[in-house]
Symmetry: C2
Subunit: 118 residues, 2 copies
């Protein structure tokens, strides 16, 4: 039987909250609180704030896989990925809960959410 690691949720989020689309530090605090609250294991992270009045990009590498974000405040938009494998425990509900919390973080009422079973 083919191995199925787990659920990957791809988000495209429209947000009118320009501050949150530009504030890399606030995102890092928010997402690391999520990682901690849901008992995930962070292996490392990379983040970068683009120059000027621009967006940021960040990836958190986890034992369970990864969470990423890329923001385009000039388009009131960001993409996020939440991919958690079920290697150590079943994480599909955590993937869904973190995705919902990200949507709430950006106060978004207009978003695309794609569930990709890997």
């Amino acid at each position: 039987m083919n191995y199925k690691p787990g659920l990957h949720i791809l988000l495209g989020i429209h947000s009118e909250n320009a501050i949150k689309l530009k504030d890399e530090a606030a995102w890092m605090l928010f997402i690391e609180e999520q990682i901690s609250n849901f008992g995930l294991s962070q292996l490392g992270k990379v983040s970068h704030k683009f120059d000027g009045d621009a967006g940021y990009t960040a990836v958190h590498c986890l034992t369970e896989s990864h969470i990423s974000i890329h923001t385009w405040p000039e388009h009131n938009y960001c993409t996020c990925d939440v991919f958690l494998s079920n290697y150590q425990k079943y994480n599909n509900d955590v993937t869904k809960n973190i995705s919902a919390n990200i949507i709430a973080y950006f106060e978004s009422i207009n978003y695309e959410l794609k569930e990709h079973i890997r």
Copy 2:
């Protein structure tokens, strides 16, 4: 009009090459050569080799977005993501070319490839 950042390719790769599914260092050399050859801009990276006869996980954060891999050699399997935005230039062909090169790297004849337009 809604902003469309670019193409994200999600790969599920079956490979009989256990060495490449375990060799984190070889992957880092390979993918960074790809990043360089295609003129992409690396912002940072995280990688981790799991203990014992296990797999590895790596994420390269790029100006253009990110490339990630998670391997499960015990299942002859890995997942990869190649997501490049078209912010600075049109990168969809690069996304496809790097994905094809990853499949060739793992000498895979059995894989799932999903194109997700973001």
